[in-house]
Subunit: 102 residues, 2 copies
Amino acid sequence: MITTCVDVFVKEEHIQDFIEATKKNHLGSTAEAENLRFDIIQSNDDPSHFMLYEVYISQAGVLAHKETAHYAEWRDTVAEWMAKPREAKKFTMLFPATAEDA
Amino acid sequence: MITTCVDVFVKEEHIQDFIEATKKNHLGSTAEAENLRFDIIQSNDDPSHFMLYEVYISQAGVLAHKETAHYAEWRDTVAEWMAKPREAKKFTMLFPATAEDA
């Protein structure tokens, strides 16, 4: 399973806008067939710092996500709200080892 | 819900030892009543870099985890295998908003 951690730093005046737009992306993404997790978390130390924690069962699922309307809408909507370019880090899920265990 | 992201950098010669010890911690932790996720992920760019992605339903659950035998065993077992001190970052889960939605 493939995990992507996306660190996002948002301009302070757009934190609430970002949360609302990202909720839509969360709802669309968790409805995708290959998606296992699409958690949106906010730093306790820095409310302008968010992480998108995305887990897909396969690489095909990762690629399919990038083709969805909800991803494109999110990407374009939040672009101007970023305080700096977002950073995506790729990981491999070790445990849970399978989607059935998750 | 409370999320903790723990970045761990392991000495190369102990990567496999770390994976085995951390699997035990994963299995113990996911059996805790207040635990929602205890994912163990490994960086694709740097195999010595792991993240523990821990989600608890309440702060009481976070504290209870620290009192478990599996946590204490993991902490003591892996201590000498760290390439540098591990770093824990605290987040608040926004979406999914409830454990029932996760």
